[in-house]
């Protein structure tokens, strides 16, 4: 390829350097102090966050009711007809996984994670598997009922251990 041809060759990669208008705007009329959020505003944000964490206990009751209903309904069906319920439970588990730790209940996230994995596509949907899902739901309800926040210390450890044993028991073919 000649030098002229190389120059005329259409660019394969375009690099776009966009002016940082967001920062320009953020600093327009900004108050003094170090760059970043206003400290008072951040403290207010933290308060709002903490307040909502307290409300979470009430809120999650609705999600648990939905989960229990899906598990109970699945239990009533023959295993080959449980697919829709499995998907519903999988979706609820995903939601709980993201919420629990955000609002001070990381054990909810831990338990919801294994519930999420237990309801992935192509996981078995037998009666024992339903019992495993039920054990997860019960464990999460215990976390909220007993307000086991953080890692829950000894109680949290025992709760997870109990869940593990339930899973092992129902996993035996």
């Amino acid at each position: 390829m000649s030098a002229e041809a190389a120059v005329e060759k259409k660019a394969r990669v375009h690099i776009w350097r966009v002016r940082n208008r967001l920062k320009d705007r953020a600093l327009l009329g900004a108050a003094g102090g170090p760059p970043g959020f206003d400290q008072v505003a951040l403290a207010t944000a933290q308060e709002q966050f903490d307040e909502m964490a307290e409300e979470y206990v009430d809120w999650v009751g609705g999600t648990f009711a939905e989960l229990s209903q899906a598990i109970d309904e699945a239990a009533e069906l023959p295993s080959i007809k449980r697919q829709n319920h499995w998907e519903r439970i999988h979706r609820i588990a995903h939601e709980l996984k993201g919420q629990g730790g955000t609002f001070g209940y990381p054990l909810i996230s831990v338990i919801a994670k294994t519930l999420h994995e237990s309801t992935r596509a192509k996981t078995p949907m037998g009666d024992n598997n339903v019992k495993i899902l039920k054990a997860h739901a019960d464990a999460m309800q215990a976390v909220i009922h007993d307000r086991i926040d953080g890692d829950g210390g000894r109680i949290g450890h025992d709760l997870l251990e109990g869940l593990k044993q339930a899973i092992a028991k129902h996993s035996v073919v």
Binding site: A11, G36, F49
Partner: protein, 181 residues
């Protein structure tokens, strides 16, 4: 200088009302001027279409940052991101996009990165994580790369030695740099 975010507009896309509320309340607390919401990607796209056609009707004339969940029906966060980055009706293909996800596996992160995500935010999250992501969008925007198989923020955040072969094998003549704004 403490930011003045009164002229900022953020779109929060999240199907969980509770998570959506906490994000909105946090953004309002740090004094973001306009916070709009959508409960899934389809609603967000519709809102952006309305915004392009008639800003007053949609309640927004622009969106500075999108904070979106990944798993949603009928249009998820990844499809929304794809629409923003690639669709001809997108109001701003350079729009900063923060993806929220409870999915922490590497494949998922790579998938979002290759679709042009700006920041990933893992659930569960704290107030600090959320405000740190917003600050990162304000303070550290990256140049955009438009290649045959990619459009989005430069995926190389740091100038560090590569562990494997450099796959960017192009000559200067094949690169065109554009300055916008």
């Amino acid at each position: 200088m403490a930011y003045n975010l009164e002229r900022f507009s953020v779109l929060v896309v999240e199907d969980s009302l509770f998570i959506r509320s906490i994000i909105v309340r946090t953004l309002k607390a740090i004094r973001v001027g306009i916070v709009n919401t959508a409960s899934n990607g389809a609603e967000a796209i519709e809102l952006m279409r309305q915004m392009s056609q008639d800003g007053r009707k949609s309640g927004m004339s622009q969106i500075d940052i999108v904070i979106s969940d990944w798993v949603m029906d009928p249009v998820d966060g990844l499809m929304l991101l794809r629409w923003i980055r690639r669709h001809k009706e997108s109001p701003d293909r350079f729009m900063p996009f923060v993806m929220l996800t409870a999915n922490t596996d590497l494949d998922g992160i790579i998938e979002a990165r290759d679709m042009g995500v700006t920041e990933m935010m893992t659930k569960p999250f704290s107030m600090k994580t959320l405000t740190d992501k917003v600050q990162s969008v304000i303070e550290s925007p990256r140049q955009f790369i438009q290649a045959p198989s990619y459009f989005g923020p430069d995926r190389r955040r740091r100038q560090s030695p590569l562990k494997g072969p450099d796959r960017r094998v192009i000559t200067e003549a094949e690169i065109e740099v554009h300055y916008v704004g």
